[in-house]
Subunit: 390 residues, 2 copies
């Protein structure tokens, strides 16, 4: 295995997590508007045309209140009524997690809606993007997002997933559909793709425009529990292989032996490998890589958003993969590639080019001016979905 | 109209909202466990066998941190590491909203899951109840909760609702189902019933035990926007009629002209008045009262949980109601009745008894030792559902 690449990947994460503290510059464009993902009736947080985030909170007795976004803490300023206000530097277009710090306590902003990321439910904000139309909630036929509860013998626990069914699913009770199994990233959960990921609206819009075939999407929880003490302190080099061999085994078993059979039993699926795809972001991309390489007879399409790539060495280790996989889709945010955050298996563009040269249907997409964040993954899905089940 | 009762109802709300500040007594039973609705992996908040809520948060620079639950603020105590801890007095069994106050800022507890109530997404906690089995997530056949987006011409906006379909809904594509339209309370939204209300698990369990017929539940947003400045300051008596005449008109129109037709078009419903019920809690009960009295030809079953009652005077004003409504269900928490919080139309028990004497199928249920809170409404639904569509 490619231990040096694994190390590079996690060192890159650590570097990104090192925070800084600063106050924003004074030249701020005063055209702030409430964020599109505020709680009903809340005036803050706000966003301006530069992509700055302005927050406001009443904390009359506090000594220090900060906005914590993009690994930077910005000091707010208190007025005579005890209301604190301040803004960040411009942020990338798209969705960002953030929090407030009040005298040392890290808490959600009471003005925002909440999303699960960074292993906690917390505040999120949308920076309007030039291409936001593709994930906008529009007056087109809408699919449903169904919350499904089921008992897992493998995990000896009740589990929970979301299933997107396209708008025409309930029109013809005989029609059957292909299925995409779509995974979230590390520190996220099964809510991500149909919430901050807007996967349902991306699909509704693509299908309404005739750009993608209607298919079912299953979004389950792929969270991997680290062995106690397995991960070294931040910034230190992991000892030996990281993540440890077999880290994806429990989810692979759950997916193959429980989630897929449950989906095929309860939804009108085309229950064969020719109509089954898997994709994921970051950790979910790494899981997609491990699971499809180990099971090329069970999937025909695969996508990895900011989660590494497939190398020629991988093809050698998984002889069935090259012949059976009708699509390999690899994407990253441009800022990840600038930062040499490439995940498993070396340079993803060169790897994908090599797959093409070897005769595979391999696609490489770079999201402009975005990092390891949801705007990259929304765009990844938007590029990936039209290539599926053709 | 019964203005004096309306005034009594809203004055009762105002009294309940007057907060107090106190520190809990020292005789606390030390058997606290993490709440069942904590975020994954979070150790706090915790609940003990007395029903006390203990919270903990790191806020090294803070001067005063409080737990705000049940309209009482409890001061926390700081340790040498800057971690604040403290607990409330015993709470009623069931679900409660709460928040933290950090140096004057009211924020969600970063340890809890979040729920919409009191007009904001915020922290919630479960006090284990002796009868919690009826709303527990168990290994029984589970229905789905489907998130549905649609365009409303009446409101000129995209709207959003949840639809519960029973476990056998997708087994037989020819079977059709009755429908219950189930409304949340004031300051809540369409998420409430299938989240903190646990309506889906209540139904799954009832159906699995053969105690209720399978039916569809539609949970939409009935929020009524108050005219600007219409509501007087807390504690003052509203001038004239409150709420103003016609306050439920827009939701009534949306329900009758858009939500019901959309449901009948997209789900396999029995689309006649004999198979249509409406119910709601608090404001949703008041809406159920107004809408079913005005449209007795469109519904056959109705329920009001902590939202008033139906009087003989109501029957006189709505001549079709008595003959067409197959069930009138009225419920309250016992502590509401102790506090004389009775909602519209006078004493609800006497009113319901009068309906029975007049020959109607009227039921009156009192939830033991609970107030105007979700445990009363879960129990209300649990009593109501078996009476429907018989």
């Amino acid at each position: 295995m490619k231990i040096k690449h694994l190390i590079m990947f996690f060192v890159a994460i650590s570097i990104a997590q090192i925070g800084m503290s600063q106050t924003s510059s004074t030249s701020v464009v005063e055209d702030f508007k409430p964020s599109s993902v505020n709680q009903p009736g809340k005036q803050y947080p706000q966003v301006n045309s530069e992509g700055r985030v302005r927050v406001q909170i009443s904390a009359p007795e506090a000594k220090l209140v900060q906005l914590d976004i993009g690994a930077v803490k910005y000091n707010l300023v208190k007025d005579e009524k005890g209301v604190w206000t301040g803004e960040s530097a411009p942020q990338d277009e798209g969705f960002h997690y953030y929090q407030l710090n009040i005298d040392g306590a890290s808490v959600p902003d009471p003005g925002s809606l909440y999303y699960y990321g960074a292993s906690r439910w917390g505040s999120g904000i949308e920076i309007p993007a030039k291409d936001q139309d593709f994930y906008a909630l529009k007056d087109v036929p809408h699919g449903q997002v169904r919350e499904v509860s089921y008992f897992s013998k493998i995990n000896n626990a009740m589990r929970h997933c979301f299933v997107y069914t396209p708008a025409d699913y309930d029109k013809d009770p005989k029609k059957r559909y292909p299925v995409l199994y779509l995974q979230h990233g590390g520190g996220e959960n099964e809510y991500g793709w149909a919430s901050q990921g807007r996967a349902n609206f991306i699909m509704d819009n693509l299908i309404a425009e005739g750009k993608a075939k209607p298919f079912i999407i299953v979004m389950d929880n792929g969270t991997w529990t680290r062995p106690e003490g397995a991960r070294p302190p931040q910034g230190e080099r992991p000892a030996g292989q990281w993540p440890p061999k077999g880290w994806a085994d429990v989810f692979m078993k759950t997916l193959l032996e429980e989630i897929i059979p449950m989906t095929d039993a309860n939804f009108r699926t085309l229950a064969d490998p020719q109509h089954r795809a898997m994709a994921g972001l970051s950790m979910g991309g790494m899981q997609t890589r491990v699971i499809t390489l180990a099971n090329p007879d069970k999937f025909s399409y695969m996508g990895m958003f900011s989660g590494g790539s497939i190398s020629m060495e991988d093809l050698q280790e998984s002889p069935g993969f090259k012949g059976k996989m009708k699509l390999v889709f690899i994407s990253f945010g441009s800022r990840e590639l600038e930062n040499r955050r490439q995940g498993f298996g070396g340079d993803p563009k060169a790897n994908t080019e090599a797959l093409k040269q070897a005769g595979m249907n391999a696609h490489f997409y770079v999201s402009p001016l975005t990092a390891h964040e949801w705007q990259s993954w929304r765009r990844g899905l938007y590029q990936f979905a039209p290539l599926l089940f053709k």
